[in-house]
């Protein structure tokens, strides 16, 4: 690892992370695969969902937090599945109790089941309540630069616009908007949702995003653990390319070898 990388942490709510890849824990075959994929991804921030316990069914079934230990990872409980601000706030409060007062949350308030597109009105309302209640809010939002700025000004610790729909794997469909969001941002901008493969993650990082949050791209790959490793490299490569600064695009060729001294 280069010196530059070592001195290039992702800082969220005052805490430094070496990895700029954030990963979810959904859709894996089993908890073993979850644990192996998360380890291979190198991620330090790991999202989980909060759900009703199945009463009377397999009380001895292993718990996700036994595999993804809060001692080792920063657990980021999400509000996935919430369609109102009220449900999202309740879920965050339950998560805080579940995680012994841990107050970093991923807020997502969804609009409909077909698109899982964020409901911005409810998202803004939930963010306001949560921030007043002392939560550190990382917020899933659309790629609207005005909304992103508003969420930042309210006090969200990271703004996470979608690259494309959750679980779609379509990549970053509107890089121009993501760029507009980044131009104005003082908090980390993390692309959340839409990444399909390693190059999508690299594109986000080359653009200057602070990080990428993904789940399905790894979990739904044929070999999730291998894809997790690919994503780790893509995030690192993209970040290094961003820091290095790419060459300008040119319309015509520019020889790499000297023109002088050619034989003949």
């Amino acid at each position: 690892m280069s010196e530059q990388q070592l001195n290039d942490p992702l800082v969220i709510a005052g805490k430094s992370y070496q990895s700029r890849l954030l990963v979810g824990t959904g859709k894996y075959k089993d908890l073993q695969e979850t644990g192996e994929a998360i380890a291979a991804s190198g991620a330090e921030i790991v999202t989980v969902a909060v759900r009703r316990t199945n009463i009377g069914q397999n009380p001895d079934e292993p718990n996700l937090l036994d595999v993804i230990s809060p001692d080792k990872y920063t657990i980021l409980p999400n509000t996935a599945g919430c369609y109102t601000a009220q449900d999202a706030v309740r879920t965050c409060r339950l998560a805080r109790e579940l995680l012994d007062g841990h107050d970093l949350v991923k807020l997502e308030v969804l609009g409909d089941q077909k698109t899982l597109y964020p409901n911005i009105v409810e998202t803004l309302s939930a963010a306001e309540t949560l921030i007043k209640d002392g939560f550190k809010v990382m917020v899933y939002t659309n790629d609207d630069p005005i909304v992103a700025k508003q969420l930042e000004e309210m006090g969200c610790v990271a703004v996470m616009p979608l690259g494309s729909l959750i679980g779609s794997g379509l990549g970053i469909l509107n890089p121009h908007n993501i760029r507009l969001i980044m131009e104005e941002a003082q908090v980390p901008i993390i692309v959340d949702a839409g990444v399909g493969t390693a190059s999508d993650a690299a594109v986000a990082m080359e653009m200057g995003c602070a990080g990428v949050l993904m789940n399905t791209a790894i979990a739904a790959a044929n070999k999730p653990v291998l894809m997790a490793s690919a994503m780790r490299k893509a995030i690192e490569a993209g970040r290094e390319a961003f820091l290095a600064g790419r060459m300008p695009r040119k319309a015509y060729a520019s020889a790499s070898s000297p023109l002088a001294g050619v034989i003949g």
Binding site: L65, P77, L94, A95, L98, A193
Partner: protein, 66 residues
């Protein structure tokens, strides 16, 4: 005593406190969080929190998600 747990009717038997209910559910010592009638009840207060008929209890845990 009839209460509601996670949206379903539940016979709490002779349980008088939340801690006893957690035990009856086989969840003692598990990583869970509990809401009683829409209010979080901190783990430290489970044994002091009394149940009454008609209470609505939510018990949640962490599962895989993005």
């Amino acid at each position: 005593m009839q209460i509601q747990v996670n949206g379903e009717p539940f016979d709490a038997g002779k349980c008088t406190t939340l801690a006893e209910l957690v035990n009856r559910l086989g969840l003692a010592g598990k990583r869970i969080a509990i809401e009683l009638n829409m209010e979080i009840v901190p783990r430290s207060e489970h044994d002091k929190t009394e149940l009454k008929a008609g209470d609505r209890v939510e018990v949640v845990h962490a599962i895989g998600g993005g």
